[in-house]
Subunit: 380 residues, 3 copies
Amino acid sequence: MVVERDDISEILKDYDKSEITIGTIGSHSALQILSGAKKEGFKTLNMVTKERKEVYNAYPLARPDYSLEVKSYKEILDKDFQLKLTEKNVVIIPHGSFVEYVGAENILNDFHVPIFGNRESLVWEADRSKQREWLEGKAGLKMPREFKIDEINNLSIVKLHGAKGGKGFARARNPKEVSESLEYMKEKGLISEEDLQGDLTVQEYIDGARYYLHYFLSKFSDDFGVPVYHRGRRLGNLLLSSIDRRDETNIDDIHRTGLNPEELKEVGIVPTYTVAGNIPLVARESLLPKIYKMGEKTVEASDDLFPPGINGPFCLETFCRPNLDFVVFEISGRIVAGTNLYISGSPYLDMVEEGLSTGRLIAREIKKGIEKDKLDEIIY
Amino acid sequence: MVVERDDISEILKDYDKSEITIGTIGSHSALQILSGAKKEGFKTLNMVTKERKEVYNAYPLARPDYSLEVKSYKEILDKDFQLKLTEKNVVIIPHGSFVEYVGAENILNDFHVPIFGNRESLVWEADRSKQREWLEGKAGLKMPREFKIDEINNLSIVKLHGAKGGKGFARARNPKEVSESLEYMKEKGLISEEDLQGDLTVQEYIDGARYYLHYFLSKFSDDFGVPVYHRGRRLGNLLLSSIDRRDETNIDDIHRTGLNPEELKEVGIVPTYTVAGNIPLVARESLLPKIYKMGEKTVEASDDLFPPGINGPFCLETFCRPNLDFVVFEISGRIVAGTNLYISGSPYLDMVEEGLSTGRLIAREIKKGIEKDKLDEIIY
Amino acid sequence: MVVERDDISEILKDYDKSEITIGTIGSHSALQILSGAKKEGFKTLNMVTKERKEVYNAYPLARPDYSLEVKSYKEILDKDFQLKLTEKNVVIIPHGSFVEYVGAENILNDFHVPIFGNRESLVWEADRSKQREWLEGKAGLKMPREFKIDEINNLSIVKLHGAKGGKGFARARNPKEVSESLEYMKEKGLISEEDLQGDLTVQEYIDGARYYLHYFLSKFSDDFGVPVYHRGRRLGNLLLSSIDRRDETNIDDIHRTGLNPEELKEVGIVPTYTVAGNIPLVARESLLPKIYKMGEKTVEASDDLFPPGINGPFCLETFCRPNLDFVVFEISGRIVAGTNLYISGSPYLDMVEEGLSTGRLIAREIKKGIEKDKLDEIIY
């Protein structure tokens, strides 16, 4: 049974608006979320395992007011646990680990706690075919072509079912290379037999530079960003807030060996794409109109597919090709970890207000929602 | 007919100094220029095409006071258009797109509007042989050797006539590889038949790490930077303000394919050098004396070649070789886009004043010029 | 004769605590150290050669109050010179160039001037086998295996005796490739006959992404970081303050040639690992617990090996492997140059206090030591 938007509105009605607590899971971008909330004067709450708890106390400007220890993140779905959250008037800020640990479907069906943004976007981002419907089908963005293994006739990327954070990616130029690669990765213990059971996604290899474009759609601010209108309604103001590139181990450093794929195999090095961190960058300024246009289309399409669509932060993961066209290979329908580079300002956010962060933008949007008594427009 | 320095001085005389407007073209580093000007209290003006206009309103701290819509950037050369600018007491801040869209020669001969810096430097940067005369001939900096195609006997870089932003670069180890590369690029639609008509520049390949060194020469500040004296005169104070590296698509990511050049060809990937963005970095501190020395020589040489030489921001594009020597492959005689990373401070600028940007340094220099009634020393 | 901790305590007793001067050698991270000290209200002193002096006057917020010109950095060991320092109540902040120019053993035995941190850590970092005893033996961190040349049977890194800043590193897959590489590097003038006389270190090649983790152990602050207790005592509060990656020329750009090792040889390009600068990055947030744990173990082990162990800034140089385990290949027992990226804040420091730097943390720790009259706990 889906938790309905109205259910959350009802819960919000009972919240003491002067005592809203901003909560998240201690991982991914929690430090930023917590510090942004504190800057806007909110109480904060961190749900965290014992081993991780200490780290969240290390930074005074991000230190949570409440720390709820969990043994497993699935506990968060327990009725009692949820009650503890709603009693504290908690609004959850979802992030990548939140979605991964709790599960997008579980969030949609079993999590009766207000979530900033539109929880449907988490379901849409978690499913590759829905992503494609959203970005390519509806928004008209260019995405890598997909095909079956036996159709591979050029450089391709194979992604295991549920591959996360780059784990379980492989390159191949033909069907034979797929089996060889997967076999080899299994042999090396990088993937399991089970991993191999699920469906594989095969995409054409897009050559270009990776730009992870961070956007923010504000429903209540019109003093920054570009206004997005769709079917006669204003969906909000859209801002490009920052850009990063994921740092993937070992693929971004493997060239330092000087070895070709055959030789790498001989020395036991498998090309892998695990995300270990993030690197800051800016885009050529003349690309901004294109970047904004992609963001606007994404927002509009979300309104068509799961009205009223997305709000708050989201990210388009793209390749910038040599002809300066963008190809989008993924969307994150919530804050991405790349924004952690910009905890006290980015080259773009600093032109809105010095020292601004995505975490703070979120908190400020909630604050405005409280002031306008329209929290249910940005929280579901 | 060259617009003379005296012509501009005359125009400046008629300017209402209390109403100076800082103007630029909406591209390249305009957001930074505009936000820097606003921080110093100037009115700002953006010349921009309809499609790009919106982006320049997205960032409140950079939002221009005036927006002049153009269909084509060549309009800027129209007498009427220029009149609109001088009526608003506009001082233009030139940047890479400004030079590219309007043309260095057109600026020199037909643009009767005050430009910050020395407009002659735009002509010197736009011409490869003049660049070499400046940097190698006069300043004594080390540059890559140049030779004819049939002299290629080692790894070389071939640059098509007028190659901009890395477009139209190719690698080759012998004359045969040149024709093969160009033929292949044409076949792939990356360059046109016309592109091939112009002269080719062939340079030795310099192996090393790319450091794009951003300098600022202030005529009026002596509280930062190192003083540069030449032929008995103080040319100004020179500051290393920041450093970036251009992010080039696809050459900086192509290694992720694991394929060698032959295999890349088979899968249809051509090595290209198009600039898509910028990455921040700092140089080893013990290299700073060398870096300052290169900047000083460049400034002194400019005074010899086109007195009173360069002022304001400029950039030396360099390779830092394994022995930590620098080889300069290009100069930009004005602000570079790499400074966009540092819109509210850089590791170097923050030691002058926290949150300082190149855009703001420019505006402040103009402000000082107004106070001292010496605008004509920094504007031509 | 080792300078004893008690000797330094005696000198500190005679210091005028209201007139402490923070001093360093003009190189490596001196700008940051000097600017951090100024921000905390200290007088500052720079020991610098004539050629470098000017650069240290270019940045007003880092400009030293006193500049002591030296012809050679070894002068610093002269009795008279040391007297000049103690007369000015100087506390030295050691950095990589300080250790390299003056020599770790000389500092331990002949430098009777108070040094921030534990000077024994400089000796421990300067010696590869001591490093291994510290990190692997005592702290239990994973390090690359070491072996003899004739044992090489997989991809390995060979480091010449005393190799600094990446100079004198080579890759090899077997003993034959070692001699070939070294021979070739000698032929190319990259290493000397003398370089070849010393012992070689051979380590297994670790594939992964390089993360240089900057820590700070504060003895006096308990409002940030995680507390480290060992054998019943509080050793201090440990903070992850920032992260960088060294930019190595030419190894990080060599892939842009598209050439394989054989072809590189033909065109005369030798893979080299010279550090030219630093690039900023952040780590995946879920790695922080692991990162803190490594730091804690390092601090505890230092207390075991050279009590009371390390204090102030230090750095673990690591590879982050595809399975997200870290392998430590080096430690710097003092400030590292990578912190120069963060002269006015880092994504981590900004959650302690906006705009904080490692240089400023050092100065503040000294200030607290003065207030508590416990300087001898952090200075030796």
